[in-house]
């Protein structure tokens, strides 16, 4: 293996200006928010096309060096743009491969390169007249759409499932060969079905490239939703932690029938309030204890939010036209007498709920990044189990998770993003990365959470870079062997991100 020889050849092909080995750059590209420390790469390269990516993969095979592709590097709480191990050559696809390749205004799709961010596509759709909207996360507006979709990221509207609502890929395999998926695999000039049909002849290979390291996706089709003339949200605050059971039972039928077109954001107090203010209790125990129930209650009162607050939205021709639907959900959620209704206009005055409205509206928003300052010191990891939409189970999981957070002196911050049958539980582990003790507690908490949830049949939706091997080791050996066998078939020299998602 010779990184120097690889970089020399890469500079010859790309141009020396697209190979960066500056010390400042390498330090920054290794940074992340995990307790396990930074992972300095050997170099950062900026390919400008699929052909250049393929050429770099072939060079990596020749020189036996490991590449780590990244799109815009905003994978916050999951590893940022840090490779699983240090010493890899980062392929920063966001630098030059950031073009919106196509927008079809009749079929409602866009084809994008890895550097295209949620904000870029939203800007472009707005510029073209605002007929279409893209699903956005509530994370960084500069987050990459391809990176997010391939990591199984999600938004909150009808097209929330970013991998599910993608269609048609171009991929550079570990051998340097380039494939197109679906009808894109036809050798023709006019691939009319590439980004409109997910199912065509042969195996559906697209799934292989989600949360894996079998190839580098350089183009992806993403489906767009016609933008409704009006979006009217509704919100309900519930006072007690245990109200989660009732909330889940209330949400399920509304999603099962799709009466409510968006997902439900079922966020706890500290998740919402944490996006607005830092923890008022951190300093008192120097981060050694969880915030008290009394302090949480005070924050709930101060911010006009519940122990849990539910948010959803209707799409319609006008605000007035949605009045009947609003009336029905208000009756539904308020039947037991526990919920406090927060209307759309009032929610827009609360940053944490305005953020939900923006997310339902395909508007990138910065508000939720505020969660990253709940505790000082920049430590942040996301634990992402899920629950069936059964109230008792969801509540049992809450009790389980809350106890582990508290045992480790951390603050329970969770948003359950609820569909008809399943809710993904976005658990934020906020900690002071400059405090070794707090780092150790964050790591211990993550592992204890994962162990406890695995024991109940629950894996995670996305895994932070520190614990990807840990998660893979929990799966059945034959599954792990199958993943490794596919790796050997598509990337025999293991040059693409070895170790990503625990696959070697």
């Amino acid at each position: 293996m010779s990184m120097d020889a690889f970089l020399n050849d890469a500079a010859g092909g790309l141009g020396a200006e697209h190979v960066n080995t500056a010390e400042e750059t390498l330090v920054r590209y290794g940074e992340n928010t995990m307790p396990g420390g930074d992972r300095r790469p050997a170099a950062v390269l900026y390919p400008g096309s699929t052909e250049e990516v393929a050429a770099l993969v072939r060079l990596a095979n020749l020189h036996k060096v490991a590449l780590f592709p990244t799109s815009t590097g905003n994978n916050m709480g999951l590893g940022t743009r840090s490779a699983p191990t240090e010493g890899m050559a980062v392929l920063d696809l966001g630098r030059r491969m950031n073009r919106i390749l196509e927008i079809d205004d009749r079929m409602g799709f866009a084809a994008v390169e890895p550097g295209v961010s949620f904000q870029m596509l939203a800007d472009e759709l707005k510029r073209r007249g605002g007929q279409w909207m893209n699903s956005t996360t509530s994370g960084p507006p500069q987050g990459g759409m391809i990176g997010n979709a391939l990591d199984k990221g999600a938004g909150y509207g009808p097209y929330f499932d970013h991998f599910g609502f993608s269609c048609g890929m171009e991929v550079v395999l570990g051998t340097g060969e380039v494939i197109r998926t679906g009808d894109g695999s036809i050798e023709a000039d006019n691939l009319v079905n590439w980004h409109v049909s997910k199912y065509s002849f042969g195996p559906i290979l697209d799934g292989l490239f989600a949360q894996s390291n079998y190839g580098i996706v350089t183009r992806l089709g993403v489906w767009l939703l016609p933008r409704p003339p009006a979006i009217r949200s509704f919100h309900f605050a519930f006072p007690d932690d245990g109200d989660l059971e009732e909330i889940v039972e209330l949400c399920r039928p509304l999603k099962m029938s799709n009466f409510v077109p968006t997902l439900f954001r079922v966020a706890n107090d500290l998740y919402l309030i944490g996006s607005e203010v830092p923890s008022p209790a951190y300093a008192a125990s120097n981060g050694r204890q969880s915030i008290s129930d009394e302090a949480r209650k005070a924050l709930q009162r101060e911010h006009g939010l519940g122990a849990w607050t539910v948010s959803g939205a209707f799409y319609g021709p006008s605000m007035e036209a949605m009045e009947p639907q609003i009336g029905r959900v208000v009756d539904h959620f308020c039947a037991s007498g526990k919920a406090t209704y927060i209307p759309h206009e009032a929610a827009l005055e609360k940053p944490a709920l305005a953020c939900a409205v923006a997310s339902f509206s395909g508007e990138p928003t910065l508000t939720e990044l505020g969660l990253l300052k709940w505790r000082p010191g920049g430590g942040n990891a996301w634990f992402t189990p899920g629950t069936p939409m059964d109230g008792r189970t969801a509540n049992e999981f809450q009790t389980l998770g809350r106890a582990i957070y508290e045992a480790n002196g951390l603050d329970y911050q969770v948003m359950n993003v609820a569909g008809p049958r399943f809710a993904r539980g976005l658990h934020v582990i906020s900690f002071n990365r400059e405090d070794p003790d707090e780092c150790a507690r964050a790591d211990a908490a993550y592992r204890a959470l994962a162990d406890a949830f695995y024991a109940r049949g629950v894996a995670v939706g996305r895994a932070p870079v520190d614990w990807q091997d840990f998660h893979m080791d929990k799966l059945m050996p034959s599954f792990r062997d199958a993943c490794a066998a596919i790796k050997r078939a598509l990337d025999p020299n293991g040059v693409i991100a070895p170790g990503r998602y625990g696959i070697y």
Binding site: G129, P226, S361
Partner: protein
């Protein structure tokens, strides 16, 4: 971020302030994706995160800064896009001010650099000198090719001619019942370069029942020199404003100090900090800063006195960095212009700086030009017939790269509410006036785009609602 200042260093108020800011940075790096100089260069030291590290090292080490650090601080636009996106609210704006002042005091620039910066600082902040230098530049233009690089840039940036000066000093009574009394900052370069903006602002405000007083003693706000590290010069200019406005505040009462150049507005709103170390003027500065408002903060859409017809001119709204990132004003100008009947268009990549940035386009012409061209292309992609912005610097910069008419928000609002047709619009065909809609349809999302409209380029089939 951990710092290593000594106790002696921390006894210095500015170092202590810097230390507090530096400690908040945890290197998340969101700032890099929105930093114009990083996006164009991919150099970590050309990003806020890298600059913060350099500033920390410079202040910790003390003594003479190295040229490399100075270069990276000089190349920062102070657009503050990083502050909008920062998850932990690092106060980069003031950290950069501290760093620039430190450089000014401790670094000896090459002679040509010193002369150029002095020329810029003295010329732009004085309308009379600006007029004289513009005439000189006009004479020098045929020989521009013979001039050294930066001077050649300055001559190229100078306007071909200046409009007739208009001194608005004095009191402009409100039309009808007076509901407010405000002081207007005439500014420095704006008076010479675009006096029509102040005139339109006065007409707009007085038409809406606001008495406008323009104290003759007030002038340059200090922003130009402050961002060049010349804090004392900036304070001297700002002190004249503080004294003049505070006297008005005491005598006749003021509801607001109105600023229609957002770069200036940002600094005026920050006067309390600028004078924090001056016991004699601290309270007066705080009182003035507390009532400083951008002109678009003073009027609400429902306040506008609108005729029965509107001219639905397609207008691209350019967010000046000082408005959107420093003052966090984005929705107010749009709401006013939309209420006035204009067909408002958002500009893609709106968070990005146009490259004006105070004296930046004079001192860092290459980067400024790259950004100016990029912004102009985005503006033109909207298909708008004209461009509006709330900062003269942006309008002047964009004028170098687009032929579209460029107007201050106040000029458009003045015209829409009964003022004269702005000079910039006299040469373009205008849409026919249309009957004003009774009320705009409410939309659900904050800052949501307009409803689907089959005439705006998309397919009618998309509008299934």
């Amino acid at each position: 971020m951990k710092t290593a200042f000594t106790a002696d260093q921390l006894a210095e108020p500015e170092i202590a302030a810097a230390d507090g800011i530096l400690r908040t940075c945890v290197h998340y790096g969101f700032c890099t994706a929105v930093c114009p100089t990083y996006v164009l260069t991919r150099d970590e030291n050309e990003a806020p995160r890298g600059r913060i590290d350099l500033i920390r090292a410079m202040l910790e080490t003390g003594g003479r800064p190295d040229a490399k650090t100075v270069g990276h601080i000089d190349s920062c636009l102070s657009c503050n896009a990083c502050m909008t996106t920062c998850a932990v609210d690092v106060d980069y704006l003031h950290l950069a001010d501290i760093a620039r002042a430190y450089i000014e005091e401790n670094y000896r620039r090459p002679l040509a650099d010193r002369l150029l910066r002095r020329l810029v600082a003295r010329t732009v902040t004085d309308p009379a000198r600006f007029a004289r230098m513009t005439r000189l530049a006009r004479l020098a233009r045929p020989f521009r090719g013979l001039l050294p690089g930066r001077l050649r840039t300055l001559v190229g940036l100078a306007p071909a001619a200046l409009p007739r000066a208009q001194d608005l000093s004095g009191v402009h009574p409100a039309e009808g019942a007076r509901r407010m009394r405000v002081a207007l900052l005439q500014g420095c370069v704006q008076q010479a370069l675009a006096p029509e903006i102040n005139a339109a602002t006065v007409r707009l405000l007085t038409r809406h029942g606001i008495e406008v007083v323009v104290p003759p003693e007030a002038g340059c706000c200090g922003a130009f020199t402050l961002h060049m590290g010349k804090a004392d010069t900036a304070r001297a200019a700002a002190a004249r404003n503080v004294d003049a406005w505070h006297a008005e505040l005491e005598a006749g009462g003021l509801d607001a100090v109105v600023v229609n150049a957002s770069g200036c507005g940002t600094v005026v709103k920050d006067y309390a900090r600028l004078f924090a170390g001056d016991p004699a003027r601290r309270d007066k500065a705080a009182a003035v800063a507390a009532i400083a408002r951008d002109v678009t903060e003073l009027l609400a859409p429902e306040d506008l006195r609108l005729p029965e017809t509107a001219v639905p001119l397609a207008v691209a709204y350019h967010d000046a960095c000082s408005l959107q990132h420093a003052q966090k004003i984005r929705s107010e100008p749009r709401a006013l212009l939309r209420a006035a009947g204009f067909d408002m268009r958002d500009v893609p990549e709106g968070h990005f700086c146009c490259g004006s940035a105070g004296a930046y386009n004079m001192l860092q012409p290459e980067m400024a030009e790259a950004l100016g061209r990029r912004k102009a292309a985005h503006i033109e992609s909207t298909g708008a017939a004209a461009v509006a912005a709330g900062n003269l610097g942006c309008l002047a910069q964009l004028g170098r790269f687009t032929a579209l008419p460029l107007l201050h928000t106040a000029e458009l609002l003045d015209w829409a509410t009964g003022g004269p047709l702005p000079e910039a619009l006299r040469e373009i065909p205008l849409p026919e006036p249309v009957a004003r809609k009774q009320a705009a349809a409410p939309t659900g999302a904050p800052a949501a785009p307009p409803p689907p409209d089959a005439s705006s380029g998309g397919t009618p089939g998309a509008a299934i609602w």
